[in-house]
């Protein structure tokens, strides 16, 4: 699908619900400088969602969707969990895979899209929880990285199986007691960012979603690097406020507390050499584009 096809038939435009009219009239599709600042004004960025009030995952979802560089030509692959409740509200293509299968599905999809649309840039982004990425789907996750599949894997790390009531997951911190894990976690949190780096990912980031501008930067980097070079991995802390006993308004503070330098979600980034070079090229091009736009604006006002 391309944005040219997202047009309402002229003769029936007036009867379409206003959500769809807005989507067509004021969406950010095709805009090079789309970003988190479009949230609140663009319909495709989840106006409403079915997650719990104050859920940090809903913030993460919004920031990610606002930051995709090429949403009209992006397919997101999801897995069962809270994220699958949001996808029906998202105006981006998505596939709901079997639990844990998401990276295998994305591998086939990315290859098929490259064959079917050789002249178009098609991005694939996997978005799954920690259970699907690190426990049940670890095999598929790692094998996709070993094969150097060109797509981004995003893990919404809430450190347990939240959607099913709070079971222990590999990314749960040591000693944590959850509703359905009363003994407490006996071993350390799986160090997937490090595993990702060693498995061949060219861009790995471990952070929270407390800062929208930071999320925007890492998403854009991850997608661009995956498109050109190879697999990328983002591990984003999206705490489940229900399962860790917080109130709706406390999610943001929980993330801020967890990203302090000594904490487990202190910002960590790994960029491979080829990826560094690509990011430098992209930054130079972006600078050129902005300078040209500024010059054009100056000419127009003169």
């Amino acid at each position: 699908m391309s944005k040219e096809k997202i047009k309402i038939s002229e003769d029936l435009f007036d009867i379409m619900p206003s959500d769809y009219q807005d989507l067509v009239k004021s969406s950010t599709y095709g805009k090079e400088d789309r970003g988190w600042k479009d949230i609140g004004t663009s319909k495709e960025l989840i106006e409403q969602h079915s997650l719990c009030a104050g859920c940090p995952e809903s913030m993460a979802f919004r920031y990610i969707l606002a930051s995709l560089p090429n949403p009209e030509d992006t397919v997101m692959v999801g897995s069962t969990g809270c994220t699958s409740l949001v996808f029906p509200m998202v105006a981006v293509h998505n596939i709901h895979s079997l639990f844990g299968n998401q990276n295998a599905i994305a591998s086939g999809l990315k290859r098929a899209l490259s064959v079917r649309f050789p002249d178009r840039t098609k991005d694939v982004v996997v978005l799954a929880g920690d259970g699907a990425t690190v426990d049940i789907g670890l095999d598929m996750t790692l094998q996709a990285w070993f094969r150097q599949e060109k797509f981004t894997t995003i893990c919404f790390d809430n450190e347990l199986y939240a959607n099913t009531g709070g079971q222990e997951s590999g990314l749960m911190q040591k000693g944590f007691v959850a509703k359905m894990a009363p003994v407490g976690k006996l071993f350390e949190k799986v160090r997937l960012p490090e595993i990702a780096r060693e498995s061949g990912c060219h861009y790995v980031v471990n952070c929270t979603v407390s800062k929208p501008s930071l999320v925007e930067k890492v998403i854009r980097n991850a997608v661009h690097i995956a498109r050109e070079i190879g697999p990328t991995y983002l591990q984003l802390y999206t705490p489940c406020i229900l399962e860790i006993g917080k109130n709706s308004m406390e999610g943001l503070q929980e993330m801020r507390d967890s990203e302090k330098p000594t904490e487990r979600f202190a910002y960590k980034e790994y960029v491979s050499e080829p990826a560094k070079q690509l990011l430098a090229e992209l930054a130079a091009k972006d600078k050129e584009r902005k300078a040209a736009a500024k010059q054009l604006a100056g000419q127009a006002t003169a």
Partner: protein, 211 residues
């Protein structure tokens, strides 16, 4: 031929799929009325009559015509608008034609607004809310139309018409096949032709869709 007839419901919570009751689809150039194969001409006449009899005759355009994904879709949308305008011109006072879109098929959270749209997963809400007693599906993908038509037959007394671009729908009370701009316009012509000759159901005890 099966004795089963596809009639307005409510047929109960899970009506059988008409195909499983022996109803077959029309061949090219044919249509079916209540599950009985009929000529297209007869179907145009019957569909026009049903529209003119109904208190709230409604057209439900689906994504295949709402979105201008090709030139043909845009032309069909124009024809649908013309059919709706014709209906408005030809009905009598007390009848209120409606044009309600089915923009996509996703489950809607937190809720559907039945006044502005219909969703195949719970079409009965829109039918009940607006008291629709005759409706036509056009531009809806077949699988979703089948689902929706069955739910409507199961839970409401609404008369259903399918203007299908493929092979037609057994689960509609009346189904055309191979829908085109010409066919939609021909139906509009029949509505115009029968204007004033059909008595609306306004005073009938069963006016409006019941549940």
């Amino acid at each position: 031929m099966s004795d089963y007839r596809v009639l307005p419901g409510p047929e109960h919570f899970l009506p059988p799929a008409a195909a499983s009751m022996g109803i077959r689809l029309p061949n090219p150039g044919e249509a079916h009325i209540n599950g009985v194969i009929a000529s297209e001409e007869k179907a145009y006449e019957e569909a026009a009559k049903q529209f003119l009899m109904a208190k709230v005759p409604t057209i439900f355009p689906g994504p295949l015509v709402l979105w201008a994904w090709n030139e043909k879709a845009a032309k069909k949308a124009a024809a649908i608008r013309q059919l709706y305008n014709t209906l408005k011109e030809c009905v009598q006072p007390g009848q209120s034609p409606m044009l309600i879109p089915m923009p996509d098929y996703r489950p809607k959270y937190p809720k559907i607004d039945p006044e502005v749209e219909i969703n195949p997963n719970h079409p009965n809400l829109t039918i009940w809310h607006n008291k629709i007693d005759c409706c036509m599906f056009v531009g809806v993908h077949c699988h979703q139309a089948n689902l929706s038509l069955k739910i409507i037959r199961g839970g409401t007394s609404c008369y259903t018409i399918a203007m299908c671009a493929q092979a037609g729908h057994e689960d509609a009370m009346l189904s055309f096949r191979d829908a085109s701009v010409e066919k939609i316009m021909k139906l509009a012509d029949w509505v115009r032709k029968l204007k004033g000759t059909v008595q609306p159901r306004l005073t009938s005890a069963k006016s409006g869709a019941s549940n």
